[in-house]
Symmetry: C2
Subunit: 195 residues, 2 copies
Amino acid sequence: MALPASAKPLRADAERTVRAILEAAERVLSTNPAAPMEQIAEAAGVARTTVHRRFASRESLIAALAAWATQRFHDAVEAARPDTAPPAVALYQVTANVLHVKIGWGFAMGALPTDAPEVARVHAAVLAQCERLFTRLRDAGLLRPDTDLDWARRVYYALIHEAAAEAPDTDAAVDTLATRVVDTLLHGIGTSATP
Amino acid sequence: MALPASAKPLRADAERTVRAILEAAERVLSTNPAAPMEQIAEAAGVARTTVHRRFASRESLIAALAAWATQRFHDAVEAARPDTAPPAVALYQVTANVLHVKIGWGFAMGALPTDAPEVARVHAAVLAQCERLFTRLRDAGLLRPDTDLDWARRVYYALIHEAAAEAPDTDAAVDTLATRVVDTLLHGIGTSATP
DNA sequence: GCAAGTTGCAACATCGGTGTTGCATGTTCT
DNA sequence: AGAACATGCAACACCGATGTTGCAACTTGC
């Protein structure tokens, strides 16, 4: 309906504007989800009417933001080849890749109602991917045989969410965070092994 | 300013209304933080004007909701005697108590801007309490000596948040969840001990 | 039972955000 | 250079949420 991408080949000029608006929306809405269009426009360095020209309604802007972030999310997971790489490697790689995206698009990825079927579909796909990866990890003996995979997945998501809150987006920083996330996920923060 | 408690001894009648409104606000706002006062009033079974009579503005309703939940939060932590009980026991007890409160007041406790100094103060106090408990756990040899206490605390909060998402508020269910949270916090979901 | 307090209802004023239009001034692309 | 496109600006209509008031009917507490 109001999808700006793949509808008409936008002029280079306008394309930059769209990007600026999406990035501004991420920044502004992450600190105040109810912020008016005016603030987003201002943060993007454009007039309010321009925002409305690119996104018919506030709703469609939100939808586009969600779609954009979701696509990046999906790409980040796929790039780690979670179905074919050795499970331990895949876990680390997925973690690092997703962290990289989530730093900078955290709001759009997390605190956004995914009404759009497009977005929900991708999220479901990634969820299934995650489920498969965890199964492979369990079969490889890295997770306890009786692991509740749903709980495991939710803990994993939560740890990534927490780690992403520490802003820096350097490659080194991302690797440090990913290491910490994977280590905490597998071993917790305690000293002893599982009883 | 707009604190309905301890200002004037409200009539039993009105007290019930205030409670109903706060509970309704929790329910409604948790599914839609931007929901209009009308919906909250409807959910509470009162007229919109009544809500305005008890809470001068939307802002003050939010503030009262945050204050109410924060108080319960604080009480839940204190009831576990985290400074005097054996650290392992305290950890479990705090977890169970907080889970009990967080199920049912999750929105007010988590997704609420804590502008009020009252609320911020209590949150800071609980945070310090948590820090002390984790130090005691570390000194008791239950956490690795090199543990990043800030990361540990954030993981702990995140796990509680996740666990609280599973609605049931039975004593048995809370104990099951608390066990899972503590176990995951200390040992993660992997098989082997820390390398 | 009576006074004080509480609620629902209807009506009103107000405000801020949303979305639209027209036009003049740039910018892009070929 | 010229056509097509993009943007800023100003003005407007509109809507829904907020907050207020007055009054009649009811409940609570003593």
